[in-house]
Symmetry: C2
Subunit: 298 residues, 2 copies
Amino acid sequence: MAHGIGDDCAVLRVPQGWRALVTTDLCVEDVHFRRGWHPAPSVGHRCLARGLSDIAAMGGEPVACFLSLGLPPGFSQKWLTGFLRGLLKLAQESKVALAGGDTSSAPKITADIVVVGKVPAGRALLRSGARPGHGIFVTGELGGAAATLQQLYAGEKPDASHSLCHFYPQPRLQAGRWLRANRLAGAAIDLSDGLSVDLRHICDESRVSAIVETDALPIAMRADLKLALHGGEDYELLFTASKNARIPASIAGVPVTRIGEILPCSAGSSPARIVQLRDSIGRLRPLKPAGWEHLRKI
Amino acid sequence: MAHGIGDDCAVLRVPQGWRALVTTDLCVEDVHFRRGWHPAPSVGHRCLARGLSDIAAMGGEPVACFLSLGLPPGFSQKWLTGFLRGLLKLAQESKVALAGGDTSSAPKITADIVVVGKVPAGRALLRSGARPGHGIFVTGELGGAAATLQQLYAGEKPDASHSLCHFYPQPRLQAGRWLRANRLAGAAIDLSDGLSVDLRHICDESRVSAIVETDALPIAMRADLKLALHGGEDYELLFTASKNARIPASIAGVPVTRIGEILPCSAGSSPARIVQLRDSIGRLRPLKPAGWEHLRKI
């Protein structure tokens, strides 16, 4: 970065032969978080994690982040300090500079995070790269973030040791970069909205269909099949890889699990059958996109 | 742009030897606009104009924009269509693609606009480039946008022919680019917060002081000295240039006016005297930053 806060724009360097990646994520109080549920540092961490996870899904390396922050009248300075501490800690761990932003008053806390990253030209992992015969893989475990949210809805106090994936999700930057550098992934996406929604995006962009093996899913402790399929905000990576690709059991310290297979999209097949679940005795049923709406059911 | 909406990030190309510019601007209903005052296309135009004006102030060329949009429950589809029409019309005129964004529910309409631009390496116009002896110049007229806002506060219907500068401000992209290409500007900034605030930013970043000639100010029709000095949202450019620079009377069809001079910042001088006004008989008085707070006095 040549120039940051202090001028009208930040000036960022993209190395020769690389491309810039840009992603924006809007977080609104009582939609994406509740002050009564989420400690301020967790809110800051989660805001930035959403953007970093998008960079990870493209196999990119984050360069800088920007924060547009709306604050209600009479907001607590202590809350703001905690929010920024959580955000800046993750920024530092991810080697990302906070390079600018904007502030305004707003009726509820509103944080729009922009992350700019870089990726070698022509090498970004896209949603459109899945091909029939590819295996479908996920990093980490599924449904853990949603299980904690379910506890919060139920008025229970989440168990600290099992709720880190909800309060402090780790964007899979190293795994995404490794997949890109080793040219192993066909398509990739991050699991922000839930497996059923995000895998459908891959199928739509790649014009393929998919089968997920129920028994293969790495369901997080305290989660269940439904949360693993439809719970969002796990921020794990979902990717596809050809049969010949040697996908290790873990990447950058994160376990990797094969959960299914990409198939051709037969002409005239029902949209409900684009993604199907296969149970332990081989029965198929449609997996409809029924993903995460953050806290919208509040 | 290699890939836009459809993947986790947009992928943007920055030419070899150029740098990326990034700016974010947060617009909140009843802070930056009122639905009762501003037609939906004007709101969309104004949101994007803020970001484009930042790119203009750096001498940059816009490449892509991103919109994070929060909408209240039961918002009108007609309003949204008008908002996007206004935004996309200006985007098209400015040759900027809408390359991504995010949506959420929110208690009030909330639009965070990100504009990414490009500028040759080492050639961005910065706030820190003003030197003693430089002349101070502005494009266009000052105070016009604030004069219209004053009418809106007073419950008057603004005269269409004099209120375009408020409802549909034109970011000075061509003028900024011309100044950069001809290496004529020392420092530059856009007049978004008001002359008194924005010129102070130049002085602070350049460690200089400034004198503004009251009689030289190009005050817009219906505006007055106070609005020209402190009214914001004119989105004109303020720049400095050395005595030897031949600054034309207009740049890219926009009049240019010399309004004052940059002086050294004498040690121990009062902060109130960093920017001073000189009236027609040579008397000096401090020009304190007392800029625009958008609609915050609502």
